[in-house]
C-alpha cells in the first residue's frame, strides 16, 4: 500500500507510542495497580484564545480514565480500537470513521469473545477514536482516519494547484481550465502547493455553496482576480486546512460572507478563523486566523434595508440559538478577547434585536440587477465594511 502523505512534521512514532502505552498499562495490571489513561480535555472550558497565536489552544485540563468497574468497558474499547488503528498505520490503509465502525463490527463477528465490545452505533466508536487522538495528541488523519471530503468548492481564473501524490509524482491543476467545475480540496490540503498566475486580490469564502455558485456563474471570477469558495456550512477539516494554505501560500486577504445569526458567527465563522473546542489539538493546522467577517453585518441590515426574520422564542430551536448566543458571550474565549470585541457586539446586537438575516437577503436590494450582490460585496471590501 502507498504511503500516506503527512499532514505535518510529526516527531512522534505513533506505533511505538502505542506499544509503550500498552506496555505501561500491562505492567500496572501485573502489579495490581489501576492503569490510568489521560487525554487533553477538548472542551470550551479548556480552550484559550490568544490573538497573537490566532486559534484556540488547549489549557491544562485533562480527562483521566482510571481502571475500575465503570471504566473497564471504555478501556477495553480503547485498546480494541488502538489495535485496529495500529494495523492500519502499519499497512498504510486509510479509513473513514464509519468504515472503522464497520471494521470493528466485523472483528466482533469473527471473534465471539469480543462481543462485549460491540459498538451499538457509530457515535460510540467515534468517541473512542477521538479519545485515542486526544490521548496520543495526534491528528485523526495521522491515525490514517479521514473524514468524508465536504465543502471547499473553489473557483478561480488565477489559481494553480500542484499536488504531490503518494508516489512522489506531481499533478498540476490550473483552476481556469476546469470550466464550470470547481476544484475541491481533499482532507489533506497540506499535500498541495499553490501558485497564482496573476496577482489575486482577495479570497471570498461563502457560507452557502449555492450562493458561491451563483456569484461564479454570474462572472465574478472572470471580472475580478479572486478566489471564490463555498464553505457548505460548518467548515470541515479539509476546508479549514485549505483556507490556511491559501492564506499562507498566496497571502491574499480572505473574507467570509454568511448569514447574520449566532450559529454562523460561532459555529461557522469562529471555527474557520480559530478552530473548534472539540479539535483543540488540531487547530494549529486547521484554522485560518486572518479571515475577516464581511457580513451580513448589522450595519448592512440598516444600510440596505435587508429583510430579516424575527427570532421566534417559542420555537425551541430558535430559542436555543438565542440562548447559545448568550452562552457564547459568557463562555467563549474567542468572543471574550478584546480583539474580537466587534464580533461580540454583533452577537449582542442579535440578542438585543432578536433578528436574523440571511446572506441571500442582498438579492432583494435590486431584484432587476443580478450583479447587485457582487457589487455590494466588492463595495464592502473596498470601503472596509468588515470585521
Amino acid at each position: 500500500m502507498e504511503k500516506v502523505i503527512r499532514i505535518r512534521k510529526l516527531t512522534k512514532d505513533i506505533p511505538k507510542e502505542v506499544r509503550i502505552l500498552c506496555d505501561a498499562m500491562l505492567e500496572e495490571l501485573e502489579k495490581g495497580n489501576r492503569p490510568v489513561l489521560e487525554a487533553i480535555k477538548c472542551s470550551l472550558d479548556n480552550s484559550f484564545y490568544n490573538p497573537k497565536v490566532g486559534f484556540l489552544t488547549p489549557g491544562d485540563k485533562r480527562v483521566r480514565t482510571e481502571l475500575n468497574v465503570s471504566s473497564v468497558q471504555k478501556m477495553a474499547r480503547v485498546v480494541f480500537m488502538l489495535e485496529i488503528l495500529l494495523a492500519n498505520l502499519q499497512s498504510g490503509a486509510v479509513n473513514t470513521k464509519r468504515e472503522l465502525y464497520y471494521i470493528s463490527k466485523g472483528k466482533v463477528k469473527k471473534d465471539p469473545k469480543l462481543k462485549a465490545l460491540d459498538f451499538g452505533d457509530q457515535d460510540e466508536s467515534d468517541s473512542i477514536i477521538d479519545f485515542v487522538g486526544d490521548m496520543l495528541e495526534v491528528y485523526r488523519e495521522e491515525l490514517n482516519c479521514f473524514a468524508n471530503d465536504r465543502g471547499g468548492q473553489t473557483y478561480s481564473q488565477q489559481l494553480v494547484v500542484t499536488e504531490t501524490l503518494p508516489d512522489g509524482t506531481k499533478a498540476v491543476v490550473d483552476l481556469s481550465t476546469l470550466g464550470t467545475t470547481p476544484f475541491q480540496p481533499k482532507n489533506k490540503p497540506q499535500a498541495l502547493a499553490l501558485k497564482a498566475k496573476k496577482k489575486i486580490d482577495f479570497c471570498l469564502v461563502v457560507e452557502s455553496e449555492g450562493t458561491a455558485g451563483t456569484l461564479v456563474a454570474n462572472g465574478m471570477t472572470k471580472r475580478h482576480n479572486c478566489i471564490v469558495m463555498g464553505a457548505q456550512g460548518v467548515p470541515s477539516n479539509g476546508v479549514r486546512g485549505w483556507c490556511k494554505l491559501i492564506q499562507e501560500q498566496i497571502k491574499v486577504p480572505m473574507f467570509f460572507f454568511g448569514d447574520l445569526d449566532a450559529y454562523t458567527l460561532q459555529n461557522i465563522y469562529r471555527t474557520l478563523k480559530a478552530g473548534s473546542a472539540a479539535s483543540l489539538i488540531r487547530n494549529a493546522d486547521f484554522s485560518a486566523p486572518e479571515v475577516h467577517f464581511l457580513g451580513v453585518l448589522p450595519e448592512d441590515v440598516k444600510k440596505w434595508d435587508l429583510d430579516c426574520y424575527k427570532v421566534n422564542e417559542r420555537d425551541p430551536a430558535e430559542a436555543r440559538s438565542l440562548k447559545k448566543a448568550k452562552d457564547t458571550l459568557a463562555n467563549d474565549p474567542f468572543f471574550q478577547d478584546k480583539k474580537n470585541r466587534k464580533l461580540a457586539e454583533v452577537l449582542e446586537w442579535l440578542i438585543k434585536n432578536k433578528l436574523r438575516c440571511e446572506q441571500q437577503a442582498f438579492f432583494a436590494v435590486d431584484p432587476r440587477d443580478p450583479l447587485k450582490t457582487e457589487k455590494i460585496i466588492l463595495e464592502k471590501i473596498q470601503k472596509g465594511s468588515y470585521i
Binding site: 506496555d23 500491562l26 495490571l29 468497574v69 480494541f80 462485549a116
Partner: protein, 636 residues
C-alpha cells in the same frame, strides 16, 4: 343613538350558556361525553356526601347509534346513585336551570359550586339530540319513584318537566340520570373516560362503583373506606379575600348593625385588637358605632382601603377537607398491581389568602407505562379529576419544577419525569381559582405552585428510598457483569499489542481480578447497607402498625429535608441536586416509607387479599425489577 339604545336586549343565563357551551366543557364531541359523565358523577357524589350516605354508583356509557352530525355517535350515558333522591318539584331546577345551586358561594369544598354543569349537560343533550335528560328519582319518603324528562327552557332559564310518571323502582332511594347525546367516546389517555373513572375512584376511597364502558364487561370496584367524608362547614370570609363591591354587598346583609360589630361578626380573623389596628392605620373611630346601612360609598371605600393595608391573621384552614394518607394508600391499590408507592398529605396552608390542602400519591405500577414514557399525571381539584389543558395547570408546573433525577427518576429539563409511575395530586380548597368556567386548569400562582412542589418533594424522598435500593442492586449486577465481560478482553488486547508472553498475561489477569474484586465488594457493601436500612424501616413500621399513616417525627424529618432543599435551591440550584442526593442517602434511616405489604390493610375481604397479592409480587419479582433498573442504569 336612540335607535341603538332600543336594539339593546337582555338574554337569559341559559341563553348565554347555550351559545357558549364550549366555556363549560362542551367544546368537542369527545369532551362532551366526558363532561356529561363528570357532571352527573359529581352531582351524585356531592348528594351522597351531604346526606352522609356511602356512595354506590353505576355508570354505563354506550354507543346506541349514529349521531346527528357527521363525525359523532349517539352516546347514552347513565349514572345511577344511592343518594337521598330528589323531590319531583326539584328536578326541573336541578337539571334544567342554570345557577340554581345549593352550594353557590358557600365556601365549602364540594365538587360542584355554581350550578352550571348538569344544566349544561342537559342543554347539550337537547341541542344535539332534541331531548333533555331522563331522570328517575326516589327519596326515602316516596313509595314509588318519579321519572321525567327535563328540558331547559333556554329563553327563560327554567327547567321544563315532560312525560312525568311514577314507576316502581327497587331502590329505597337514589337518582338515575340518562343522557343521550351526540359525542365520541375515548377511553384511555388524558381525556379518556377510564382515566376519569380511575381518578375518581382514587380520591374517593369511600366510593363503590360499577361501570360498563362500550362493549366491555362491567367492572366493579369496592370501597376501601367506610367513612363518609365530612365536608367541613364554611368559615366566615376573610376581609382580605374581598373586593370593594363584595365588601359593600356583604355589609348589606347586616342592615342596621354597627359597622364595628359587622366587621367583627361578619368576617373571620377580625377581633377587637384588629379594630384597634384599623383605627391606628387611619380608619375614623367615629365610623365604628355607625349603623352599617347608613354608611356612604365613600366611607365604605375609605374603610376598605384601611382594611386592605392592615395586616391580619391569615384565614382559618378549618374549612378544607383531606382524603388522608391512609385512605389514599388503600385507594391506590384499587388501580392495579402497584410495585411501590408513597403518599403525602400536607397540613392545610394558606395560599393566596385561601386555605388549601395538597395531597400527593406517587406509585409505580407493574402493568402500566414504561421507562421511556412520561409518567401518568392525575390532577384533582376538590376531588374532581382535571383532564384537559394540562400544560397550563399549577399542578403540572409544580411537577415540572421538581428535580426528579435526585430521587432516581429520569427527567428531561423542565419536563414531566418518565417511568411507569402514576402521580396523583389533589388540591382541596373551598376557593380554588380555576382558569376557566369548565374547571379544567388550576391557576398557577407562585404560592400554590410552591406548596404543591413541597408536597411532591416529600413524596419523592419517600419514593427514592426504594429506587436507590434498586439502583444499588442493579449497580452490583452491572459491575459483576462488566468484570466478567471486559476484564479478559482488555488484558488480551494489551498482550497482543505489546507481544507479551503468557506469563505476563496470567499475572495481569490476577492483578485485574484483585482490582475489580475490590470494587465489587464495595458495591455489595452498599447494597447490604441499603437493604438493612430498608428492612429496619419496614420492621419499625410494622411494629408501630403505622404502615399507611404518618409517624409524626418521621414526617417532620422529611419535611425538614424538603425545607432545607428548597432553601438550598434558592441559593444555588446546581448545588442543591448534589446536596439533596447525598442528604437523602445519609438520612435514609429516618424517613417514613409506605410499603405495600400483606396483612396490613385493616379492612378484611378484598382489600386485604389484594394487598397480600401485591406483597407477593413485590417480593417475588426481583428479576423484573433488576431488569428495569439495569436498563435504566445502562441508559444513564
Amino acid at each position: 343613538m336612540a335607535k341603538t339604545a332600543k336594539s339593546i336586549t337582555s338574554s337569559s343565563t341559559a341563553e348565554y350558556f347555550a351559545k357558549n357551551l364550549q366555556q363549560v366543557g362542551f367544546s368537542s364531541p369527545l369532551k362532551a361525553v366526558l363532561t356529561t359523565l363528570k357532571e352527573a358523577v359529581d352531582n351524585s357524589l356531592d348528594a351522597c356526601e351531604e346526606s352522609g350516605i356511602l356512595p354506590e354508583l353505576k355508570v354505563v356509557v354506550r354507543k346506541i347509534g349514529a349521531g346527528a352530525s357527521k363525525t359523532s355517535d349517539l352516546v347514552e350515558i347513565v349514572v345511577e346513585d344511592n343518594g337521598p333522591g330528589l323531590d319531583a318539584e326539584d328536578l326541573p331546577k336541578v337539571f334544567g336551570e342554570y345557577l340554581a345551586s345549593s352550594k353557590f358561594g358557600r365556601g365549602q369544598c364540594t365538587r360542584g359550586q355554581q350550578g352550571i354543569g348538569i344544566s349544561a349537560a342537559t342543554t347539550w343533550a337537547q341541542l344535539t339530540n332534541a331531548s333533555g335528560v331522563r331522570v328517575t328519582s326516589k327519596t326515602k319518603g316516596m313509595r314509588k319513584a318519579v321519572q321525567a324528562v327535563i328540558d331547559v327552557d333556554i329563553k327563560q332559564n327554567k327547567g321544563l318537566m315532560k312525560a312525568k310518571e311514577t314507576i316502581d323502582w327497587d331502590r329505597p332511594h337514589g337518582t338515575r340520570v340518562e343522557f343521550r347525546i351526540d359525542g365520541r367516546v375515548q377511553l384511555n389517555g388524558d381525556g379518556g373516560l377510564l382515566t376519569y373513572l380511575e381518578g375518581t375512584t382514587l380520591v374517593n376511597p369511600h366510593l363503590t362503583i360499577e361501570y360498563t364502558l362500550l362493549d366491555a364487561e362491567p367492572v366493579r370496584i369496592e370501597r376501601v373506606s367506610d367513612t363518609v367524608p365530612e365536608i367541613p362547614s364554611a368559615t366566615l370570609p376573610h376581609p382580605h379575600t374581598m373586593k370593594l363591591g363584595e365588601f359593600i354587598t356583604h355589609a348589606g346583609l347586616y342592615g342596621k348593625v354597627e359597622f364595628g360589630k359587622f366587621l367583627r361578626s361578619g368576617f373571620s380573623r377580625v377581633t377587637d385588637e384588629t379594630l384597634k389596628a384599623l383605627v391606628k392605620n387611619g380608619m375614623s373611630k367615629s365610623l365604628l358605632p355607625l349603623p352599617t346601612n347608613k354608611l356612604t360609598e365613600e366611607q365604605f371605600k375609605s374603610a376598605f382601603q384601611v382594611i386592605s393595608k392592615t395586616e391580619m391573621q391569615s384565614p382559618s384552614t378549618r374549612s378544607v377537607l383531606t382524603v388522608g394518607e391512609e385512605s389514599l394508600a388503600k385507594s391506590i391499590l384499587r388501580l392495579g398491581d402497584v410495585d411501590f408507592f408513597s403518599v403525602v398529605t400536607r397540613k392545610p396552608r394558606i395560599c393566596d389568602f385561601k386555605p388549601v390542602v395538597v395531597e400527593v400519591a406517587l406509585a409505580r405500577f407493574l402493568n402500566r407505562g414504561s421507562e421511556d414514557e412520561s409518567i401518568q399525571l392525575l390532577r384533582f381539584a376538590n376531588r374532581v379529576p382535571l383532564q384537559f389543558d394540562k400544560s397550563a395547570c399549577a399542578i403540572t408546573a409544580a411537577v415540572e419544577s421538581v428535580n426528579w433525577r435526585s430521587y432516581g427518576l429520569a427527567q428531561s429539563k423542565d419536563s414531566l419525569p418518565s417511568g411507569p409511575y402514576v402521580f396523583a395530586i389533589s388540591i382541596v380548597s373551598p376557593f380554588i381559582k380555576f382558569k376557566n368556567a369548565s374547571k379544567e386548569t388550576i391557576d398557577a400562582s407562585d404560592e400554590l405552585v410552591e406548596e404543591i412542589r413541597r408536597a411532591l418533594m416529600q413524596a419523592g424522598q419517600k419514593l427514592s428510598r426504594h429506587i436507590r435500593r434498586e439502583n444499588k442492586e442493579a449497580d452490583l449486577e452491572r459491575k459483576i457483569s462488566h468484570i466478567e465481560q471486559f476484564g479478559p478482553i482488555l488484558v488480551e488486547g494489551l498482550v497482543r499489542i505489546v507481544g507479551a508472553k503468557e506469563s505476563r498475561k496470567l499475572k495481569a489477569e490476577e492483578g485485574l481480578k484483585k482490582l475489580l474484586g475490590r470494587d465489587t465488594k464495595e458495591a455489595q457493601k452498599d447494597l447490604s447497607e441499603a437493604e438493612l436500612r430498608l428492612n429496619a424501616l419496614k420492621e419499625r413500621q410494622a411494629k408501630a402498625g403505622l404502615l399507611f399513616s404518618a409517624r409524626r417525627h418521621e414526617e417532620v424529618a422529611i419535611a425538614d429535608e424538603v425545607e432545607a432543599e428548597v432553601e438550598a435551591e434558592g441559593e444555588d440550584g446546581s448545588d442543591a441536586e448534589n446536596s439533596s442526593a447525598s442528604r437523602g442517602t445519609d438520612k435514609r434511616g429516618t424517613a417514613k416509607l409506605v410499603e405495600v405489604k400483606a396483612g396490613t390493610a385493616k379492612d378484611a375481604g378484598k382489600g386485604t387479599a389484594k394487598s397480600a397479592e401485591i406483597a407477593t409480587k413485590g417480593t417475588g419479582k426481583v428479576a423484573g425489577t433488576e431488569k428495569r433498573a439495569t436498563d435504566k442504569t445502562a441508559r444513564k
